[in-house]
């Protein structure tokens, strides 16, 4: 297994949010998590990435053969975990390209690779940006500052493409994207699919999962995975809505 979450409980500001999540992802797989607002999907993503203030009270997470919870956020990133955030942060004064290169070099260094040359970096960054429909001006701007919602999401995917993670967690990367952008972003993800790389895709919409076809779909409700199935589960949710779905569960 690449990622193994067992009986994970986590609280934010003393309030229990995750109440026993178990989930295992093998290399090469794409898993999707769906679930109503406030059910704990982003919380799970932040716990995976190691954000401060998200307190794990019970359970374990293994990433490859490492104890993920014992690692600092940057160590997780260097070990190959990537989180595309639901709300990417704007950082004035830090250039997008400069930041990308710093991040890439930090990760390469941890993997025992040499720093990438400026020319090679620029070639790669431009190439990926072009494929994702990110203009040169966006590359040169301050990180996410003044980017539209869709531009921010594409920029997250650009970072993912350059950092080449082993596991990418995409938190609602499809929200706020127009139809063409959705396809572009999905293609960006599909290009990266490899037998040794996995994805955990958090989304509200079946539409994304038509482009990025998942192996497994989980439904999270109130901090727990309530059901796990194949792609058909997403279609079922789309038809019935959470209420109908939950009603049936309760019955």
């Amino acid at each position: 297994m690449l990622l193994e979450i067992e009986n994970l409980h986590a609280s934010v500001e003393g309030k229990p949010i995750l109440k026993g999540v178990s989930l295992a992802i093998a290399p090469g797989e794409v898993h999707a998590i769906m679930g109503p607002n406030g059910s704990g999907k982003s919380t799970l993503a932040f716990v995976l990435a190691g954000r401060e203030g998200y307190e794990v009270t019970e359970g374990s997470i293994r990433f490859g053969d490492e104890d993920l919870l014992a690692m600092e956020p940057e160590e997780r990133a260097r070990a190959g975990l990537f989180l595309a955030m639901q709300y990417p942060v704007e950082i004035p004064g830090v250039g997008n390209l400069y930041f990308l290169r710093q991040a890439l070099n930090a990760i390469r260094k941890a993997r025992g690779l040499e720093e990438i040359s400026a020319a090679e970096f620029m070639r790669k960054a431009r190439e990926e940006a072009r494929r994702l429909g990110i203009g040169e001006d966006l590359l040169k701007r301050d990180l996410n500052v003044g980017f539209s919602g869709g531009e921010k999401k594409r920029n997250e995917i650009l970072q993912m493409a350059l950092l080449e993670p082993r596991l990418a967690v995409l938190d609602e990367t499809d929200s706020g994207l127009d139809i063409d952008a959705l396809r572009t972003v999905a293609e960006g993800v599909n290009r990266m699919r490899r037998p040794d790389r996995a994805f955990l895709v958090i989304t509200h919409y079946q539409r994304l999962l038509e482009y990025i076809v998942p192996d497994v779909v989980h439904v999270m409700v109130d901090g727990r995975i309530r059901r796990t199935g194949g792609p058909e589960l997403a279609r079922e949710l789309e038809e019935r809505g959470y209420e109908g779905f939950l009603g049936r569960l309760a019955a």
Binding site: E72, V89, I91, Q102, A103, A118, L163
Partner: protein, 453 residues
Amino acid sequence: MAVVASRRRRVDPDPSFFALHRAIAPQLWGGAEWAALRTRALERFRALGIPTRRDESWKFTDVVRIVNRPMRPAEPRPLPFAEVRPYLLGGSEAVRLVFLDGRLVPEWSRTEGLPAGAIVESLADTARTRPEALARALEALDDGRAFTALNAAFLDGGAWIEIPEGVALAAPLQLLFLSAAREEAVMAHPRCILRVGRNAALTLLETHAGLGEGAVLANVVLQLALGEGARLDHDRIARAPRGHALLVKLDGSLGAGARYRQTTVVVGGALVRNEHEVRIEGPEAECLLSGVAMPRAGEQVDTLVRLHHCAGGSHSDQHFKSIVEDRGHHAFAGKIIVHRGALKTNAYQKNDNLLLGADAEVDTKPELEIYADDVKCSHGATCGELDASALFYLRARGLDPETARALLVYAFAEEVIARLTEPSARAFAERMLLERLGSDFVSPESELLAEAR
């Protein structure tokens, strides 16, 4: 009795100031009228006394502790080029006056290549060639400030600078003030008077640097006058070692349509205090002031601005920042005064402070006084720590926490540093910033420089 003493707004200067004046004033340049001027100023200093924290404009600063003690002018000493070189800014064509301990050092100064009519000379020369003009200029500045009076009382080193009408100096003018620590406490009181004539233009690099740690007071007064349509870009950098106190009073006036742009970067010092009193006297003038100070443990930086809009249709914008580490202290007091009749004034002021420790101290006091109609004014201050979500974002992309922090601090300071107009001044300030951030940090700027090579 102790309580009474601490309530006083000023205390008597240490007797050593007067004893010293008796001993050394007779040896300073000029005849009887200059001696009289110095003595009048000393009496003014005596009457004003040294301000305590009871004095509104010294509320956040204990200057008595720093300056009210025996100090003397430093003995002249040689100044090897190696000590000057790091601070030479403005390129090989720059006009330059180098002061050591308040005295002009002709050896490293450079006034060649000045256009016809331009004057760059030492005050001692001005006292001979234009005594009335100098006396008038000195007496015109009576700001009720003890240190201005003290500066006049020990009037010795300094410069008179005049850029004539319509002349734009191609190369920058650097005023480099070096202060070297000695065994005993030393003080210097340089004064510079600078006039940028009608439609004339100048880039001024004002650099203060301390050599060695120790008790040093540099008490500087600058008088700037911008004529109608004149333009002055003023880059200011101060780097003060431990124990150094640097007090700079800048008194400026702007004529109609003049454009004054100042950027200040300050690192270090027991106390670095930049006081500004700027009067916009003619309509349609523009005054842009910005600065960043980086005090760390045991250091204090004061930024004081009194900006007068006396004529209408003018624009002023102030943006002062500070990055304060644990037990560092920044005090900002900024006042915009829009006088009667200064219609259609735009005046903005912002003070943003970044606190990098639980014991970082910031005092901020933005003020507005408006006596005219139809004006647009705003002011505001912020104090905050590094943005936790930004830090997390950077770390989640693999940056270690030190680099992530340094990058965010860098970005905060860079906004101001980027406004320095002269490239060598910008590069110098950049290096100062990087020193503060630690050696491992690679800035975008230095990365670009490395690649350009």
